[in-house]
């Protein structure tokens, strides 16, 4: 009677190979690795754009300054003095500062717009859910195996292992 009870009980035991948990943990590591690489790529591409635009703005600033510089001959006649129109320089400087501020804002928009944070967070969340379930099943399976091993004997194969072994042998034949 006891043996029958044990047989029925243990035949119902599920089997969760430890590789399941390892796979889920590796999946989490993979997601985190890809997430970091994606963020790094977005940052680097945006930073390249940002630096190019800053250089272009600096180039334009120099061109504009060149337009408002007047060269006046020095009193001794041997050299020239460069004079810059003050009001025009203030205007150029203000326009340049505004353009740099706008460029920084655009850079932040680009990083935020291409980082896809929401989808990455959802992937991580899904993996956490699956990991939680896998851990609970692995623990349950370990408890069931311990129960079987302690009562039926350590040398007797676990029912599902036995079935798997038979299946493997059948497949070989």
């Amino acid at each position: 009677m006891i043996l029958l009870f044990l047989s029925i009980l243990c035949m119902s035991c599920g089997t969760i190979p430890p590789e399941f948990l390892t796979t889920m943990e590796k999946e989490r590591e993979g997601i985190n690795l890809l997430k970091e690489r994606h963020q790094k790529t977005v940052y680097e591409l945006t930073e390249n754009w940002y630096q190019e635009r800053l250089n272009r703005l600096l180039f334009i600033k120099q061109l504009e300054i060149n337009k408002i510089v007047l060269s006046i001959p020095d009193t001794d006649g041997s050299s020239t003095i460069e004079v810059i129109k003050k009001e025009a320089l203030i205007k150029i400087d203000a326009q340049f500062s505004a353009a740099v501020t706008l460029t920084t804002k655009i850079r932040n928009l680009l990083i935020e717009g291409y980082s896809d944070t929401s989808n990455w967070e959802k992937l991580v969340k899904l993996n956490t859910i699956n990991l939680e379930m896998t851990r609970s099943l692995t623990d349950l399976n370990a408890a069931q195996r311990k129960f079987y091993s302690d009562l039926a004997g350590k040398n007797i194969p676990f029912p599902s292992d036995f079935i798997n072994q038979q299946t493997q042998e059948l497949l070989k034949n």
Binding site: L109, L110, E132, A142, F147
Partner: protein
């Protein structure tokens, strides 16, 4: 607001807008925005479905943990019984 006041107000707004457009056109630093500023809002799972999944699977995992405790408890009891009986 009288019609005349409305007209004056609208005219002032037009002049201000014209001034802004003129300033932008004459600003050599105005290089424009990039053609795209980001990805679309496309997603593979909605927040509501994800929350529902999280709740249901967490409950099931919690039940599994409780069931594990019961298995361990049952194992201890049966081992004690086995010691006494055999």
């Amino acid at each position: 607001m009288t019609p005349k006041e409305k007209y004056v107000k609208a005219l002032k707004e037009v002049f201000a807008a014209q001034k802004e457009v003129h300033a932008a056109e004459n600003n050599p630093f105005n290089l424009g925005m990039p053609s795209h500023l980001g990805l679309s809002e496309e997603t593979f799972i909605t927040d509501a479905v994800l929350t529902q999944l999280s709740t249901e699977v967490s409950q099931a995992a919690n039940d599994n943990q409780k069931f594990t405790k019961l298995w361990n408890l049952g194992t201890d009891i049966l081992l004690k019984a086995k010691e006494i009986l055999l």
